[in-house]
Symmetry: C2
Subunit: 192 residues, 2 copies
């Protein structure tokens, strides 16, 4: 997605040739117009979807925008810790966060994913793929079909895509970063 790539080139902060900081339009402040354009890209790429699955918190906005362009399909967001209210009757998976260096449990109420569901998984980042693998694990537990994965920014050099494609699942990212060089992002060509 050219507009996204161009915005990353112009506005992302690169720290230590390793961390890409896009807090100001992707995961702390949201450029709402861009969020809906991103949702439209995902909606155009996948069909036959009856439910979106994502993970709190940064996947939610992009899921809402995608659902808007997919006839308002419902969205399920996996939660990162069990609250007082939801502790039983849930699918669970463990996810190790590379950024935060902690392991957390993500949960989805068993009511909300069912056999026969055709699920599109949406997230803001794909790096090692741990969060996505947790979501796919949960969809598998529910015998739901994962029709595809839509990612806003992929860190291609961290290898997460292969683990998912090896399961036969289509991955579509809107900006795929090949490497970071001298504080600058270099994108994979032809990834969308």
């Amino acid at each position: 997605m050219e507009k996204l790539k161009s915005k990353i080139l112009k506005e992302a902060y690169i720290i230590d040739n390793r961390i890409i900081k896009v807090d100001h339009f992707i995961n702390h402040m949201l450029d709402t117009k861009l969020v809906f354009e991103i949702g439209k890209e995902f909606a155009n790429e996948f069909s036959g979807i009856n439910k979106i699955l994502t993970i709190e918190a940064s996947g939610i906005a992009f899921s809402v925008a995608t659902a808007f362009h997919l006839d308002n399909v419902p969205i399920v967001f996996a939660r990162k810790s069990a609250s007082l209210i939801t502790t039983e009757n849930v699918y669970k998976s463990k996810v190790f966060s590379f950024t935060k260096q902690i392991e957390s449990t993500i949960i989805v109420d068993k009511e909300f994913l069912n056999p026969g569901d055709n699920v599109l998984i949406i997230d803001d980042f794909l790096a090692t793929g741990n969060a996505l693998n947790g979501l796919i694990d949960i969809a598998n537990q529910a015998n739901a079909k994962v029709k595809g994965v839509g990612i806003v920014i992929e860190k291609g050099y961290q290898g997460g895509r292969k683990r998912i494609e090896d399961m036969g699942i289509k991955v579509h990212s809107l900006a795929n970063i090949k490497r970071i060089e001298d504080g600058k992002v270099v994108f994979e060509e032809n990834n969308d």
Copy 2:
């Protein structure tokens, strides 16, 4: 908002005359069509807004839908814990969660709230008002003006509204629960 109240009456689970469980359309699975109708209600109620402030995770979807109906104003969502990436240069406030019985720190990067901002705060629930007070505290630290608070479901019997109105801030909730009686929700009349 009649449609929301009617859905709560028909579909909410009431536990111990105390907990209202609306996970299946508000804070775990989202009824996307309803989310956008809620956003439209908030957009109609407030004017002169240039930024929406909310808190992860359940406030995000309603903020995206509200921003959609408010000329795509940007959204800032307060984060609940400091990640590896964002640890400095932030406004902070402490919030005690009545539901989870834990205190957490919410943060907003200082770049994202400024003097001159006219902020609409959006959240899914208003109960004791702790989360909202944290958000207002952060807006005050930034010398931003809080133009109003939009709440999807208010638990009127927990008294959170008064603390906010006493600061001169307008509160608009779409369903205000007066009490829970014999496992049934009773709404305040004329609250919207």
